[in-house]
């Protein structure tokens, strides 16, 4: 201390100039724990967590699809068996009226006597469609050999469904094997022309079909081609049926109950609420591409989306004021010339800054981009062109980009010593629960629009726990988009 009098400011400044106190040991322990926790939670392990999450989602989705596809095939095979048995029963019932001999009857009986499931197999050929009776004179009737059983099942089903009033049936040639030819299955309204299998679907109760049903070598079920049912309906008539313009309730129900795949492009504005000391809200915008698989009245939806969000805040900037510059002579040489010795000064320009640090507060806007992968399960019902649904499930949110706004000082020459952002750091990965409900409206056969209010609940704070204490944020948004199905 100096001998002269000092004021209160100097008293405290001098006293605390070299003031040091050893902190308690537990503080360092806590810091270590926290740093290890942060590394585990967000930083380096982020890719592992992300990859794990995506893998789980993909595996679950794959298993689900496989399960559903197998179920669909089984259902089709079962329906084929039932349909064939039913038709054959009908044939047997009607046969006495049209029988042309004992052979046919016995053949038919023997065929019918062995159920398809007992045989375990079926090779069925639909052949000999009478081109003349179908209005395709001069061309060969379509002969389809070894068709997948489901297609045949559909045809037989359709015949049954579309020609409920068949009252004429004749059996034609018998090949000696189990071969039955169904001749002249005529509807009340006469003949109708069609060019391929699927046209059968649109016959609407009229038309003649000659078919041979032949049982021969077994075909394992695995070899059945898993052709989506939708493919069978890709004709104008099928579209009409699908859109409800043609009355065919049986077909429509079948169509609706099989699995359908929809693709949707959605835009979602959201308001996010952060229940914390600061009680702030935020906005975000998402664009996502979803794939929805509908089975019966249920749906499974997944996809990928990009969400953009931002944080407004301020940064405290410690800086040193730029005062000017001077030329620092770091070397000098002397050149001897005719006029004498000339000194040459080698200089550097040195900037001069205020030795006192200053602080200023500047507004900042940090932008974040997230990749979002939801897996949602739901329930849906259709009525006419509308359908409503509710759905929910987890969503993985991964930060893929953060744009931290730079600090701008009034004078660019000022030297920034430190920037302390008051905007809390965000975590890299978050799990959320999504709940949504909404309606879709069918614009056409393949295109719909949809709108759905949704809620998103964050499983943990979106921010680093060290920087801000928030509870679970939640958000509300309205998704709207266009849906396409094939």
């Amino acid at each position: 201390m100096s001998n002269k009098d000092i004021n209160i400011d100097d008293l405290f400044r001098n006293a605390f100039e070299n003031f040091e106190v050893d902190p308690p040991e537990h503080v360092w322990g806590n810091i270590q724990k926290d740093m290890q926790g942060n590394n585990r939670g967000s930083g380096k392990t982020f890719p592992k967590g992300g990859i794990l999450g995506i893998s789980v989602i993909l595996v679950l989705s794959s298993l689900f699809f496989i399960y559903q596809t197998n179920n669909s095939v089984s259902e089709v095979v079962d329906s084929a068996k039932i349909a064939l048995n039913t038709d054959i029963d009908n044939i047997e019932t009607l046969l006495p009226e049209y029988k042309s001999g004992e052979n046919e009857k016995s053949n038919m009986a023997s065929f019918n006597g062995q159920s398809l499931s007992e045989k375990g197999v079926i090779d069925i050929s639909v052949s000999s469609i009478n081109a003349e009776s179908l209005g395709k004179r001069g061309t060969d009737a379509m002969i389809v050999k070894e068709k997948p059983i489901k297609e045949v099942a559909m045809e037989v089903n359709n015949n049954t469904a579309l020609n409920p009033n068949n009252n004429e049936l004749s059996s034609g040639n018998s090949s000696g094997e189990v071969e039955n030819e169904l001749d002249d299955i005529e509807g009340d309204e006469g003949q109708a022309g069609f060019g391929d299998d699927s046209d059968l679907l649109a016959m609407g109760g009229s038309g003649n079909v000659h078919s041979d049903v032949k049982a021969s070598a077994p075909i394992p079920e695995e070899s059945f081609e898993q052709t989506p049912i939708v493919e069978m309906l890709e004709t104008e008539e099928a579209d009409e049926i699908a859109s409800g313009d043609v009355a065919s309730p049986e077909l429509k129900n079948d169509y609706g109950k099989k699995g359908d795949l929809y693709f949707g492009l959605y835009f979602t504005p959201e308001v996010i609420f952060y229940p914390s000391d600061i009680n702030t809200t935020n906005k975000s915008y998402s664009l996502d591409l979803n794939m929805t698989y509908k089975f019966s009245s249920y749906l499974l939806q997944s996809g990928i989306g990009v969400m953009s969000s931002s944080d407004d805040g301020q940064s405290k900037v410690d800086f040193e004021k730029y005062l000017g510059s001077y030329e620092d002579v770091y070397d000098i040489t002397f050149d001897t010339t005719a006029n004498g010795v000339v000194p040459v000064y080698l200089t550097n320009t040195v900037d001069v800054y205020d030795s006192v640090q200053h602080v200023t507060v500047t507004p900042t806007k940090n932008k974040y981009t997230y990749l979002q992968i939801p897996v949602l399960f739901g329930y849906t019902e259709e009525f006419r062109r509308f359908s409503w649904f509710v759905k929910g499930g987890p969503s993985l949110s991964l930060m893929v980009n953060e744009d931290i706004s730079s600090v701008n000082l009034e004078n660019d020459n000022n030297r920034i010593v430190n920037v302390d952002s008051e905007v809390p750091a965000r975590i890299k990965m978050n799990w959320q629960i999504i709940l949504a409900g909404g309606v879709t409206y069918k614009l056409g056969n393949h295109v719909s629009i949809g709108v759905e209010p949704m809620m998103r609940f964050y499983m943990k704070s979106a921010y680093e726990q060290n920087s801000i204490q928030t509870k679970h944020p939640y958000s509300f948004g309205i998704r709207s988009g266009i849906i396409v199905n094939f």
Binding site: S2, D5, A15, P23, E320, Q357, N466, S467
Partner: protein
């Protein structure tokens, strides 16, 4: 023993030894700063812990241009401000007190005052006085800067400082029986 540059580099590489040395090198001095801002030791512990976590997290922003100690000190002070702001409300409408000349004390008196006694005097100040006194007198912030940091007006900052000085002066006088005349 690492140089400052080496220490920063090693800490950024998650070298546990370097991080511990970083802490041990600066923690005692920073704890002294925390004690001045906090109302008790427990709060000082929290500020020190939070401040060092922030320092480690933001170490990559240190540009090796100023002193590392100064940078850590700024981080700790900012943390202390945020911490105190969470739990305190400032009176924003205080008028400026008439500035009175600061009384001077003889060095003999000053020598008899211990740091701990002065620390207690600061701790006993109302929170607004304490913040402004610490930031202005001890840390060298201007009133304008303090106003920005604490969300108060410059006049309020000046007023608080004036009151803080008088309070401290009075307490020192009472403690050591100094006549104000």
């Amino acid at each position: 023993m690492y140089s400052e540059k080496e220490l920063v580099k090693e800490c950024l590489c998650d070298n546990a030894k370097a991080q511990e040395e970083f802490y041990k090198r600066y923690a005692p001095k920073m704890y002294g700063v925390c004690l001045r801002f906090a109302k008790n030791r427990m709060e000082a512990d929290d500020i020190l812990q939070e401040g060092f976590i922030k320092a480690f997290a933001n170490l990559k922003s240190f540009r090796n241009e100023g002193s590392l100690e100064g940078w850590v000190r700024r981080t700790i002070v900012n943390t202390a401000i945020n911490h105190v702001k969470k739990f305190a409300k400032y009176k924003k409408d205080l008028d400026i007190d008439t500035a009175e000349p600061v009384q001077k004390m003889s060095s003999s008196v000053v020598d008899t005052i211990s740091v701990n006694e002065l620390l207690k005097l600061i701790k006993d100040l109302p929170i607004g006085y304490k913040m402004v006194f610490n930031l202005n007198v001890m840390e060298g912030y201007t009133h304008r800067e303090i106003a920005s940091l604490l969300d108060i007006s410059e006049n309020t900052s000046k007023s608080q400082l004036s009151r803080a000085r008088h309070t401290l002066q009075r307490k020192v006088n009472e403690l050591y029986g100094i006549d104000r005349s």
